[in-house]
Symmetry: C2
Subunit: 420 residues, 2 copies
């Protein structure tokens, strides 16, 4: 009965009873740093070379880490969670072997965040003190999403330009098919009917809004604070004759106005910040008709832990993937009832592998747009994200909710899976 996840399994690597790795040098001047690094990483199944010398090996090695010199080793041992990405971006560290498999193998062995050293946990928690006010949110989103639509167009799907987890009906689905399937999965969960109205918070390049208008006959009001994305989305909607059914609003979701049959947010919650969850819930509660339903799709975690510090600094300032318990702070204070939660993390591992492959296919064009450091940063970001989903460090949750007294909900989920 089970759908075989062959491709996903290949990126997972071996698990379980591996024999422990061992340090190969006895008189290395930095032996204590090597010991510290290996200890923090819980004896990863890789080989490590420093300035060409093999200093650590393990059975079933997934690949090699090549460290330029002793200074590189010192930095990595001091703060591996930040420096792994940093040193790779600078060119002081190389991965030999498939980068996703290698990172997956390393991440699988890492102790749970709660078991990591105190200083690492404190450093991680510092970032939680920041709050995504309306002005900081605008800054954060500008940092990531306004680096150029042309860049994202190189490696996202060509159909709907979705920069969120796809949904693969089968492993042979293309990225384009999987992104369209994701849009349909979301629309079916919302049970959209022709003539209804939808509010969207954080609409990216507007692909979901256009898809809903075109294929489900609804009117959409879609919010986004990325100028580049909204400009792109408006142009597309006009070109496709959808401008009368899709309105893109360049504004914060907290300013959302009106009453709608459905609310949807795909891939925005990561940027909202836990402190603002009750306010997001208030927006949902306030804009949803009594019989409406809402869907929130976001990266999450099995338990609370800070964002990886390197990713937070260089890629996603202000981002945070919540646990299910934290998710509930959106709904619990606002009399919203959770109807359905689905975890599709393996789909995000696959999505990221597709993105990385397309990114690599377009290296020359990326280099021409930016520089080598940018290329290495983004390669590490895409590969380490794929690894984090593949090893179960990150999750992808879709929540469907309604007002708590709404009885006009489907009795079963059959309708989601019925072939039309």
């Amino acid at each position: 009965m089970k759908q075989q996840s062959a491709e996903t399994l290949t990126i997972t690597g071996a698990l379980g009873d591996q024999a422990r790795g061992k340090i190969l040098v006895t008189d290395h001047p930095q032996r204590s740093l090597i010991e510290r690094l290996i200890g923090l990483a819980n004896y990863p199944p890789v080989e490590i070379l420093v300035a060409g010398q093999r200093v650590y090996t393990a059975p079933d090695s997934a690949g090699r880490l090549l460290l330029r010199d002793g200074a590189t080793l010192m930095k990595l041992a001091r703060h591996p969670e930040f420096q792994l990405g940093e040193l790779y971006s600078n060119g002081d560290l190389e991965f030999e072997g498939d980068i996703v498999s290698l990172l997956t193998a390393i991440f699988q062995k890492l102790p749970d965040f709660s078991q990591r050293p105190l200083w690492i946990r404190l450093l991680g928690k510092l970032y939680l003190l920041r709050n995504n006010t309306i002005s900081r949110a605008a800054h954060n989103i500008h940092h990531h999403y306004d680096i150029g639509n042309e860049f994202y167009r190189l490696w996202l799907d060509t159909e709907a330009m979705q920069y969120t987890c796809a949904y693969f009906p089968g492993h042979d689905a293309t990225l384009e098919q999987a992104q369209l399937a994701k849009l349909d999965h979301v629309c079916r969960k919302l049970d959209l009917q022709p003539g209804q109205t939808v509010a969207e918070a954080g609409c990216g390049w507007g692909g979901l809004a256009r898809h809903m208008a075109r294929h489900y006959g609804v009117k959409v009001k879609a919010y986004n604070i990325s100028r580049e994305q909204v400009a792109f989305a408006r142009e597309k909607a006009a070109a496709e004759g959808l401008a009368d059914r899709v309105e893109y609003v360049l504004d914060d979701y907290r300013n959302l106005q009106g009453e709608f049959d459905a609310f949807v947010s795909v891939g925005m919650l990561e940027h909202v910040g836990v402190k603002n969850y009750p306010a997001l819930g208030q927006v949902i509660r306030g804009c949803l008709k009594p019989e409406g339903r809402a869907l929130v799709h976001s990266i999450g975690r099995n338990r609370p832990a800070p964002m990886n510090i390197w990713t937070e600094k260089h890629i996603f300032p202000g981002a945070y993937p919540p646990s299910i318990g934290q998710f509930c702070r959106i709904f619990e204070p606002n009399a919203l009832s959770v109807l359905d939660v689905e975890n599709i993390r393996l789909h995000y591992a696959l999505t990221l592998k597709h993105w990385l492959a397309r990114f690599e296919d377009n290296l020359e064009r990326v280099r021409a747009m930016f520089d080598e450091r940018f290329v290495r940063m983004w390669r590490f970001y895409l590969a380490s994200s794929a690894a984090a989903f593949a090893c179960g460090e990150l999750q992808l949750f879709q929540f469907v909710v309604s007002h708590c007294q709404n009885n006009d909900v489907p009795m079963t989920r059959n309708f989601l899976y019925r072939k039309d």
Copy 2:
């Protein structure tokens, strides 16, 4: 696309813009008590009569509350959440009209628990201080489940004797069909394969264990601390030739031993107590093979609130329905990953209506076993529970989880809904 929930809707009553009810007497000696009661209940859409005199009415009234006398009014106004059931059980209060519709109409208007008066909230919280130790749990379970298999047999389904929420494939399904459908829904979510082993915590009269063994070819070890239930379950399994495949263990789930392909618990979590959730998670983590999956099915809430005090005292000592956030205390500390959450509360409203109807059909036999007060207590318990699910005060959650690094999980939920 939506499955019409006609029957459920009829028990829901009208919502929204009802005109407010009004007090009909100006010079009644207990006018201030009436005002207090109506205020606490937020102007319910019912009529209230005290000693035959109509003292309160509301538009779209769902029925009448007949209070014997002024003393009854005083008790009810003092602590309505407890006294509604208490006065009805004693015969001091009668419901005129369909009892489920009437209670649903009252519950729908009640303010959220967090908005109720401080003394009501404090009283409710007192019960949370109790802990279900192994010996107290045994006492609690004995109180409810050991009052006689013959009694439960009168009004539960005849197929599997399920005292938990059924799953109605359609509204015309019988209780028997719906309970078998529930068992299959659970087994499909667990993706059971012939030859596998299953641990069950809190097995009731053993119906799920026998169903799994008979129809899915698995071996089951099922735990329960109710002597009467275990005796019944063992006898049934022997009579049906399943004794070699189902072992019923008269012991607390915390003593569960062994390693299994699946763990399942249907309707036990309500009796576990939030303090013991991490320990339950430890049991799941400890007994589940690396690629196993677990299902926990329980009554829950949209946000934390204490059990209704009357029900806790008379029907379910030590019981507590958790919010999703509280549910997560089972999984988060134990490196378990939530794959799927389904809320099927409307199915429990229907299930309870079926139980109540069968209970009423067997009144004379219940009276012969117990007494009139027992009859009224159980009628109130079944009807008020149906109303609580119908108005969205209670939820029914099914959680499916696995170890956090398990990638051997279905990519989609299609397999749950595929016709074999």
